[in-house]
Symmetry: C2
Subunit: 250 residues, 2 copies
């Protein structure tokens, strides 16, 4: 990781680039940020181009794919050991469009890249993560000017097929919420059923019925009830729960 | 598709290969065959090498990734429109091992490939399918000598990380069985709950309790009961069901 951090702000040279990375394949990361019942994603902005994009990167020739994803998300957020998941490879022929990247590189005076494979077709492996966004330190990459959170409800126009990548990530996140819940580490050590329901409602984008939500959660058998302490008015306090299982990421 | 079929048995030339395909990325397909409560997978055999492998292929420069997967599975099975699903990209640095491929190509007199990118590192996108194996016509590829069904319980030694790919495919299939069930087209138009339970038991590799299985299936809300015809002894006949929804593949 430290080696990566120390080289990433150097000037990008076409030859080095070709030596360093696997050709034809990229990574794009949909980093969902969650805090106080809000859901956002992290975007890069390229000034003077009106272009926004998902954080992404390439795979070094001597680096495992998942390590490349960990490196990319660490570089953009400052966070390690976050829950990361591959969800789809975007490989349609129609997604190939060298123009946005050409615009960005020309804006940065990177004329050396004229005939580079970067302008040829490449496929991208989509990853998603869900983190507490107050813990991240957004950090632009070599080519971008800003790295910022945007409300999922109000995204700017995204380059290439990045909007489709966000949609598919959200769809996967929603479909797998029950299984993935524990890995996200978004809940405190113990929490109420209402806290958990808020998380679900924010991610699913809809209100849920309290009784059926509670029944469903208990049926998953991933929660255990924490013994209530006597606190005077405790007969009115809600039950506290904690996760009874652990899951591992990638 | 027809163009693909007509070229695939020609001699493989290194230059053509490099012109035709995207570098650094392959496809491997775990094609599960199901019939009469047996589960098998399709494997390629390379004679005189003692090597077995999953059916796979590369992505043409002018071809979408999913189309490459459809082409590969069509070439090996003769079946179109099968349910195919991406499940994982295998990209660990440790999976790179050019020796098996070198052995196979040398056995075929393909010396021209000596310094080809084929012997460099490549990543592979894993796909799985589940088909009725009596409907497939297994067909070896250019480099293999046989294409045959093998019992999942009794697989030969597989090259590279193909055993890991099979394990991950099976794990994904099991985890998503409820959602994917309809897409597989393995059940007749109408079927009994016992038929459906057999399919589940075979894929999960374990016996299930009849009453809880039935309750679970009905709760999924994908089944509708077919009106029973009066057939004399019909008061003892089991209910017939059919799927009430349609799902689409890739």
């Amino acid at each position: 990781m430290s080696q990566v951090k120390s080289t990433q702000r150097q000037e990008l040279k076409a030859d080095d680039f070709e030596k360093l990375f696997m050709p034809g394949l990229a990574i794009d990361a949909v980093i969902f940020g969650f805090h106080e019942n809000q859901l956002k994603i992290l975007l890069l902005e390229y000034e003077n181009t009106n272009l926004w994009a998902l954080p992404g990167g390439f795979i070094k020739k001597d680096e495992s794919l998942n390590d490349a994803a960990r490196r990319t998300t660490f570089d953009r957020t400052g966070l390690q050991n976050i829950y990361l998941e591959q969800f789809y490879v975007f490989g349609d022929i129609e997604r190939h469009d060298p123009e946005p990247l050409r615009t960005i590189l020309e804006g940065k005076g990177q004329g050396l890249f004229k005939d580079h494979w970067l302008f040829g077709r490449f496929l991208t492996v989509g990853y998603y993560a869900l983190i507490d966004y107050t813990k991240a330190t957004p950090n632009p990459d070599l080519l971008s000017d800003k790295c910022e959170w945007h409300d999922l409800e109000n995204l700017p126009f995204l380059m290439l097929d990045h909007e489709q990548i966000v949609d598919k990530a959200l769809e996967t996140l929603r479909a797998n919420l029950d299984q993935k819940l524990i890995g996200f580490n978004l809940m405190p050590e113990s929490f109420t059923m209402a806290d958990l329901q808020s998380l679900y409602e924010t991610i699913l984008g809809e209100k849920l019925l309290r009784t059926s939500f509670q029944r469903k959660m208990l049926n998953l058998e991933i929660l255990e009830r924490v013994e209530k302490k006597y606190t005077g008015g405790a007969h009115k306090a809600p039950y506290l729960y904690r996760f009874s299982k652990k899951v591992k990421s990638l």
